[in-house]
Amino acid sequence: MEADTPPAGFPPADNSDYSASNYLQASIANYLIIGSALFAIGYAYYSYWDLSKLVMTKDTLKVSQLSEEKKDEI
């Protein structure tokens, strides 16, 4: 779409002071939003990686032994 053509039904563009380059052309906001979003995704992935490093072994599992009577009952 041509950049300087106004949408249908909207007031015509007349090269006045209101240049679109001034509107929604944020710098601090862009850096903050995109930066923190990427940081959050990266940190989420790091947490996942940290979690996946956890190797489960049977050694720490606590097992209560049933008595012979209890086994018979079951």
Partner: protein
């Protein structure tokens, strides 16, 4: 009464049993989500056609006309919501078994494993949500806004508000999926819970969540798809909706539009929330977690993150104009940046107070 299954008698048996149950829950949850998302894709496609003819065609933005801007935003929102639900469910089923295993060492270890799983969903969800929204705005800004915006403040407001109105399709997509994910998953989990209880507790005299009751697996699948996948989609829906609504409202205030960074204020708040959360999660390492203090540990986390957020929002206020003329229902109001801060603080601390009050009256 049917014969009960013998509990594991050796560590190897227990380990194998734990892995087997985890795999059953994971595969059951995957299957449910696949089915639910299949129906959701069909529903969203039909709904998208309605949006196109009801919103995009009458609005007809752009010289090429009839470009489905709102419909595209709707699809991006719906897809992101599904991604958040899937992400939540996957990480939950991945973490469940590890938490159980770690709890065999100590509650402290188990808590931290579960907390890491929560961090994956929390940070991932907010990150993906605001990144997609920001990309959408940047793209639509280039596609929709002309090089010049007319000759008056009113024209500027008209253009920018229209831009944010089409972007609001993102919130609609998110909440549409969230509705189904929450309700669909919620109904399933309740049905499984009640079914398992009726068959196991009432008819067979088994304990709640007894491993001897096959319905327990269905109940656990329900917990994952309803309370986690549904919650993930719901959280995304709430974030996307509230952000889009705030963007549309701010687009009506010319004083804000004249300061480009101020236009993005509603998105800078959750972005700052990510930093506040990152700072807060480090406090969880302080002290030993026991069965007695586990709840207060989580409450402290909420209080710390709310307090950090209260401070971190302050610098953002200076991206706003010192005073703004806001017109509402034909009446003009003048608001300062501190009025906006007061609104934010009311919402932030009310959320904390509601959480604590609910917990107080429902925990005993």
């Amino acid at each position: 009464m049917s014969s009960r299954k013998m509990p594991p008698q050796s560590q190897q048996e227990a380990f194998d049993e734990m892995q087997k149950i985890a795999e059953l829950i994971r595969s059951g949850s995957d299957e449910f989500l696949k089915k639910e998302y299949t129906y959701l894709v069909v529903f969203c496609s039909v709904f998208a056609v309605l949006i196109y003819f009801a919103v995009d065609v009458p609005q007809s933005m752009g010289a090429k006309g009839y470009v489905p801007y709102t419909t595209m935003a709707f699809f991006v929102g719906a897809a992101t919501s599904m991604l958040c639900g899937w992400m939540g469910m996957s990480i939950a089923t991945f973490t469940n078994v590890r938490t159980t295993w770690a709890c065999n060492t100590s509650i402290h270890e188990g808590f931290h494993v579960a907390y890491k799983g929560g961090k994956v969903l929390g940070f991932g969800l907010v990150g993906v949500a605001i990144l997609n929204l920001q990309i959408l705005i940047i793209m639509y800004r280039a596609m929709i806004l002309p090089a010049t915006l007319g000759s008056s403040d009113k024209d500027v407001v008209t253009y920018v508000r229209s831009l944010f109105e089409v972007v609001a399709g993102y919130g609609l997509g998110g909440s549409t999926v969230a509705l189904f994910a929450r309700v669909g998953g919620g109904i399933y989990t309740k049905a499984a819970d009640v079914g398992a209880d009726l068959a196991g507790k009432v008819c067979e005299g088994l304990e709640e969540d007894s491993p001897d009751n096959p319905g327990t697996i269905a109940d656990n699948v329900g917990d994952n798809v309803g309370d986690i996948a549904g919650m993930g989609a719901d959280l995304f829906g709430s974030l996307a909706e509230s952000t889009c609504a705030a963007l549309v409202i701010s687009a009506g205030i010319i004083d804000i539009l004249k300061r480009p960074d101020a236009s993005y204020f509603p998105m800078m708040v959750p972005a700052m929330g990510i930093i506040a959360s990152y700072i807060s999660v480090h406090f969880v390492r302080i002290g030993e977690v026991t069965a007695e203090n586990i709840e207060s540990k989580l409450k402290h986390q909420l209080t710390i993150s709310t307090s950090v957020m209260t401070v971190l929002i302050l610098p953002l206020l200076f991206t706003l104009p010192a005073s703004m003329n806001i017109e509402f229902a034909g009446t003009a109001y003048i608001a300062s940046r501190w009025s906006i801060y007061a609104c934010l603080m009311t919402g932030l601390w009310s959320g904390l107070a509601i959480g604590f009050t609910t917990e107080y009256y429902t925990s005993s």
